[in-house]
Amino acid sequence: MSLLDVRDLSVRFDTDDGTVHAVDRLSFTLEEREVLGVVGESGCGKSVSAMSLLQLLPETAHVTGSAQFDGLDLIAAPTSKLRDIRGRKIAFVFQEPMTSLNPSFRIGNQLGEVLQRHLGLSKKAARKRSIELLDLVRIPAPERRINEYPHQLSGGMRQRVMIAIALACDPAILIADEPTTALDVTIQAGILDLMRDIRERLGTAIVLITHNLGVVADIADRVIVMYAGRKVEEAPVRELYAHPQHPYTIGLLGAIPRPGAADEQGRLREIPGRVPSLSELPLACAFAPRCPRADEVTRSQVPELAEVRPSHLVACFHPGRNGDRP
């Protein structure tokens, strides 16, 4: 059985301008010790789906579907039950390390709070454990750092503190939402090494949400590509990069500047058009308006996910490198 089993997760928001369908029937599983990469551009629903798992969305959100974890349906569970899961069994790391730490409390207090609340440690024991945790995320001189305030730390250090807080209760799942996006590349390399190390040593399963296909290539075992609230492709990481099937995935990979990515004229491959508005769910492939392979069928039916290669799912009427069935 999977560690986390999400079925038909849909999220819509009621706004003044009408209903926004942020996530549409998303299903996925997460296995023990697995690093699952969730990739997509802004507004594709990757963050919203993660937040909905712990009921972290505002009241305007309507979440349907199920998410089985540890014998509990996270979507239907009462808040009282979720409190024991949030931060304890499933922990979050957010993109912006400055705004997700409280600027007016010392690092030690913020770490200790989690330990005291969830594990019932005494203040003294919490402090000792906090130092161990800072050491675990390779922060130098943890006994000194623990007395510092967030503003005294650099961006990379703050993100390490966030990871330390997330790991405080030895969670089964770590959900990292763009954990390295705000960081410089040399710092990013260190954080990715740290996450790899955590998975190896603690066996934590990681959901890595990112727009960066390079980061996913570095660390993920399996990848989900999302577009306009829907999962359009899913495959083991090497399979996805070697044999991308969905034209959107192929487009994304071609759009990244790197040697060999440009076409004969030395231009990067663009994806024309823009991400559709999510105010109405199209009864068609959401990518159709931007897709070079779009035809009548594409514009009139929603493609269902199908396994086109072993453990490689794609929601496209014309998958494959050139649009032919592989």
Partner: protein, 348 residues
């Protein structure tokens, strides 16, 4: 001495640029000096694209702001097409503003929300008294067409446009007066990948058509490789290495450049997972008290090899190969730096 020089008068020539900021006598720090830029020299030839690369806090944006005189440099000279503009007054600068324009990182805050996009693009033309009335309208429509925006978007306000469209408006505004120098400060880093590609392609096409020089500031090495003719790498207020793009990516010398190249992630698991990478210890030091001697020594994996020189003496930029300059104690003309990782692994 400038980083590059060919026969023509450079479009932009920056010499020994120094920009120090005094921090106020605040509660936290009692008046300190931030050494944002410390002796930077480079030049950009007509039609050349120079990429200025560095991590946050390296001073690359400060260089750009000094070059267009948005900041008053502490010392050094800035020459635009051979003319010293370092100490010109605002009034004297005004006619020269035609010759250099800037595109900013954030397409949300760099456009006036109370002007229509057409007014925004036409403003430089109006201020420079190049076009007015019907002629202005026609010119603005032409510019919209050039940057790939539908003409009817002229009457829309910035908030009605997507990020990519807004950055096109920013480009149209910058290029409206046909400047000889475009300074682009992280113009695509706020955009989604698929939109980035379109803006980079557009910038490249426009440069080919119009022939302007460009100072392209970014933290992303892959973008530089795609777009620029030459690259200069900055670390803590100084240029540590500069070279033609091909050479820089084929044979990076400075340990920092090597680390930067090795840390960049490649979107291919087969390659990415087979590469070794240099993980730098610690963080970029504070520009309030930069390390003595070589500024990179506190994080340099090779620091022990160049000690004690690295602690005492700031390595000058020396010509390692034609057009390839490096500021490292371990690099002499013709003698390469020790490779931190195999050069073939640095590249995808």
């Amino acid at each position: 001495m400038s980083v590059s020089a060919n026969g023509d008068t450079p479009t932009l020539e920056v010499q020994d640029l120094v920009m120090h900021f005094r921090t106020g006598n605040g509660i936290v720090a009692k008046g300190a000096t931030v050494h944002a830029v410390d002796g930077v020299s480079f030049s950009i030839a007509p039609g050349e694209l120079l990429g200025l690369v560095g991590e946050s806090g390296s001073g690359k944006s400060t260089v750009a702001n000094c070059a267009v005189r948005l900041l008053e440099p502490t010392s050094g000279t800035i020459k635009l097409r051979g003319r010293d503009i370092t100490r010109l007054s605002r009034r004297e600068m005004r006619p020269l503003r035609r010759d250099m324009h800037m595109v900013f990182q954030d397409p949300y805050s760099s456009l006036n929300p109370r002007m229509t996009c057409g007014q925004i693009v036409g403003e430089p033309l109006r201020v420079q008294k190049l076009h007015r009335g019907k002629g202005l309208d026609a010119q603005v429509s032409k510019l919209f067409d050039q940057v790939g925006l539908r003409a009817e978007l002229r009457f829309r306000y910035p908030h009605e446009l997507s990020g990519g469209q807004r950055q096109r408006v920013g480009l149209a505004r910058a290029l409206s007066v046909q400047p000889s120098l475009l300074i682009a400060d992280e113009p695509v880093s706020a955009l989604d990948v698929s939109v980035q590609a379109a803006i980079l392609n557009l910038l490249r096409d426009l440069q080919k058509d119009m022939g302007f020089s460009c100072l392209f500031i970014t933290h992303d090495l892959a973008t530089v490789e795609y777009l620029c003719d030459r690259v200069a790498v900055m670390y803590l207020g100084k240029i540590v290495e500069s070279a033609p793009t091909k050479e820089m990516f084929a044979a990076p010398q400075h340990p920092y450049t090597q680390a930067l190249l090795s840390a960049a992630v490649v979107p291919d698991p087969e390659i990415q997972r087979g590469r070794s990478r240099v993980v730098l210890e610690g963080d970029i030091p504070s520009p309030i008290s930069p390390p003595s001697g070589c500024r990179f020594r506190t994080r340099c994996p090779l620091a022990h090899e160049s000690a004690p020189a690295s602690e005492e003496e700031d390595p000058p930029l020396v010509e390692f190969a034609p057009g390839h300059r490096v500021a490292c104690h371990l690099v002499r003309a013709g003698t390469p730096a020790p490779a931190l990782v195999d050069a073939s692994e640095l590249r995808a």
